[in-house]
Amino acid sequence: MTYTEEEQNLIILSSIDELKSKEKLSAVKAEDLIKTAPSGVYNIVKHKFYDKAYRAEVLENLHKKGIVCVTYLSPDYPENLKHIDEPPAVLYCKGNLDLLKTNCFSVVGSRKSTATAIAQCKKICGEITEAFTVVTGMAEGADSAAVEGALPSGKIISVLANGFDYFYPAVNRGLIEKVANDGLLISEYPPHIPPLKYNFPVRNRIIAGLSRGTLVVSAAKKSGALITARYALEYGREVFAFPYNAGITSGAGCNGLIKNGAYLTENILDIFEVFGLDLEKPKALPALSDIEKAVLEQIKISGEGFLPAIARNLETFTYQLIPVVTKLEIMGLITRLGGNRYGIV
């Protein structure tokens, strides 16, 4: 990857920790930035900026790690992102860069989500990829589910709040590597920046900025997902949210969004309709036997079902329903909620 002189300037400035993110962005032209650098760090910035060895080292290092930089000046820089406040000067990327040119749709949610929400998030992300590239973070819970749902199609952009030297959260190491292979990993931070608490809300502006719409699958009253939704509103993008029953902590934020005008989203059609996309006919349900249909109906009544209770209602033995629910689970129609309870997807 070769960069123009000006792009290189941006990459070098981006690598200087002493500069605040806003200062890196305050001017597009590197020389302007040098001039506007605050006096306290002026000497450091000037020294590093004109140090040839340092410049070569930074670029060499990125190259070695297989990181491609898409700078604000690059033709690859996503148009949507240019229109937000404080667009990142440099996007550090790993993976399929073509995804930056596709239509994006972000799906975000809380780390503590209900098992049903996780399963539904995964399902809807698979469907979203028919029209969009899914943009999300990498947190456990809803974000990971979104990644898993979109990963088979490869249309997944995961925006990290740390440099690529770090795998965060550690449990998702495998998932991070898969996204780098099949999809695209993005970070506005140079590789050596560890995950820092205050960078996560800032990162959310990129998720919202890349996307034409944002779906919040779960959010408590104060949730990072709501920050993403707020950014999306600010940038004039569409906001969607899953509806929740009253009293579910991890759904209060979603219901709040809906009260304030977000699109209530029950399924993929609710999203595609807003963008005027061809409403794909819902896929025909796989052929189900009578007992499978009956069990599915039972679970649908309240969205979740307790296996022995279903057996009682259907006047059969619990153990005879175990293969049935397992089959429905394999088909992706229901999900396990723990304690022999099952939820509709």
């Binding site: 780390r111 503590k112 456990e140 819970g141 959260p169 550690a170 449990v171 902590t249 307790f306 296996l307 022995p308 209770a309 057996a311 009682r312 033995f317 619990t318 153990y319 175990i322 293969p323 049935v324 629910v325 397992t326 089959k327 689970e329 394999i330 088909m331 992706g332 396990r336 909620l337 723990g338 304690g339 022999n340 309870r341």
Partner: protein, 505 residues
């Protein structure tokens, strides 16, 4: 004069004949005991001296030399008191009698005979080696009464023993007892019918016992995991006499055999999670004793709160779970104890315990849950064929249709399924499906194309680890046996794959 009396040493579960030779010479008064005696045997000198005196005999005031042959086997335990005393009495001409008896017993200072541990394995070994007549402490009579083909006399004191040997009193041998009668008289104090609801877990228990599979119960606290586990022995087939003797031998060596004399009910062992590796596997410095896993032989080892056990202790279970025996090796030698048990473990689904509960919100982060579950290593989890979630509902909401099956009903089905397995696996010298290796799985568990497809789908949808495959097939085989099906059907594969809920993704 020289005398020779026979006794036995115990090495693991094997008895070794020991000759107690006493020689009394004129000379400086002394008492020398040679032939690798341990502390308890060395101390016998004082007990024997007092017991002889208090039984109205005279302890020789001469040079007494006693040898325990063979000289290279360690002699441990207090059961040499009686043979030592008899041998001294013969050597000092205070007793003239034939000595084709095997003597076992500890002496009190007043000459009374005290019970000894490890008697049963000694008697069985001795019988197999051709010994016919035994003198044992009266308190051990129950334990000995189940062994046929030998003459056992249970006596109260040294004096009585001497009178019996000289013919001054006549005694009848201990009457043989029937194991069947003892077994039918005993009952477990729990029953499946007392557990309300928990249909899924009950079904899983039935499968586990039928196929000899290990089982993990996961669920919120207070949902009846322990109660369910306690019911496992009640649905296992009754122990045969040979099995009961094997189990009794272990408990006899461990010294925790009660008054019953034989372990007629399948053992249910619940070591606390602070248990050390040695207490689980067995060990000891001088005398190697069986651990909890051997005491659970032919029964159930219940590990409550599995992740709380030390990693070291859990990992030590892996090899015995495969081999069904454990070889404890110490500097003094190696001993093999049987350890053929069903492992039943329980755990909370997450650190706060509320994951999967219908009412309480789980407050754990995914990372915490991951960390908690990964305390149980993959290889150990791999050896647990069934992982079941228990119902996370309140007691009064447990679904009960009024007719809870009793343990006896389930046991009947289990016995039927076990019979099928025994016949099928007889060529391979196995009894239950859980023991099958890859070769037997290929031979006896042919899957139809439909089953293969379902299995593949289950792997993708449920994120199962590749190692779970043969486990699922084995469990499916057991389910098919319970349902009296010749071949594994798709629903058996589906059900079996639902019992892998704790697999780490």
């Amino acid at each position: 004069m020289l005398s020779k009396v026979t006794s036995f040493a115990l090495s693991g579960l094997d008895g070794i004949p020991v000759e107690v030779e006493t020689d009394i010479n004129k000379g400086m008064v002394s008492y020398d005991l040679v032939g690798l005696p341990d502390t308890a045997v060395k101390e016998s000198k004082e007990r024997v001296r007092s017991a002889i005196k208090n039984s109205r005999f005279v302890f020789p005031v001469n040079k007494v030399t006693i040898n325990l042959a063979p000289a290279d086997v360690k002699k441990e335990g207090a059961h040499y008191d009686l043979p030592l005393a008899i041998s001294i009495l013969i050597a000092s001409d205070q007793l003239v009698a034939d000595t084709d008896f095997v003597f076992l017993g500890e002496l009190a200072l007043d000459g009374a005979l005290r019970p000894v541990t490890g008697l049963l394995p000694i008697l069985i070994s001795a019988r197999d080696k051709g010994f016919k007549k035994f003198i044992i402490p009266f308190a051990n009579a129950n334990e000995a009464s189940y062994i046929e083909g030998i003459e056992i006399y249970a006596l109260h004191s040294l004096r009585e023993t001497v009178d019996f040997l000289t013919g001054a009193v006549t005694l009848t041998p201990v009457a043989g007892r029937s194991y069947i009668a003892t077994r039918t008289a005993k009952e477990y104090n729990c029953d499946l019918s007392l557990v309300r609801g928990q249909k899924v877990a009950k079904r899983a228990l039935e499968i586990a016992v039928a196929g000899g599979h290990n089982i993990l119960l996961a669920g919120p606290p207070g949902t009846g995991k322990t109660m369910l586990a306690r019911c496992i022995p009640t649905i296992m087939p009754d122990m045969t006499f040979e099995e009961a003797l094997e189990v009794t031998k272990i408990h006899s060596v461990a010294g925790d055999l009660g008054d019953e004399g034989i372990v007629a009910l399948r053992p249910f062992r619940t070591p606390h999670h602070t248990a050390s590796t040695v207490s689980l596997c067995g060990g000891g410095n001088t005398r190697i004793l069986p651990g909890e896993i051997s005491k659970a032989h032919k029964g159930v080892l219940f590990l409550d709160e599995l992740p709380e056990y030390t990693r070291h202790a859990l990992e030590s279970l892996r090899q015995p779970l495969e081999d069904k025996v454990i070889t404890v090796t110490r500097a003094g030698g190696a001993v093999t104890f049987p350890a053929d048990f069903i492992l039943c473990a329980s755990m909370n689904p997450c650190p706060c315990g509320n994951y999967g509960s219908a009412y309480l919100q789980c407050t754990c982060t995914p990372a915490q849950i991951h960390k908690y579950r990964s305390k149980v290593s993959g290889p150990l989890l791999d050896r647990i064929d069934l992982q079941v979630e228990v119902d996370g509902v309140k007691y009064d909401e447990l679904i009960s249709d009024g007719k809870e099956e009793s343990s006896a009903d389930v046991k009947a089905r289990v016995e039927r399924a076990r019979l099928i397995q025994r016949e099928r696996l007889s060529d391979d010298n196995m009894t239950v499906n859980a023991l099958m290796g890859e070769r037997q799985i290929k031979k006896y568990c042919r899957l139809s194309k439909e089953c293969e497809d379902i299995l593949r789908g289950a792997f993708e949808a449920m994120h199962l680890s590749a190692r779970a495959r043969s486990r699922i097939i084995k469990v499916a085989r057991t389910i098919a046996d319970l349902e009296l099906c010749e071949n594994i059907q798709p629903e058996h594969i589906l059900e079996a794959s639902s019992y892998r809920s704790m697999d780490l993704k």
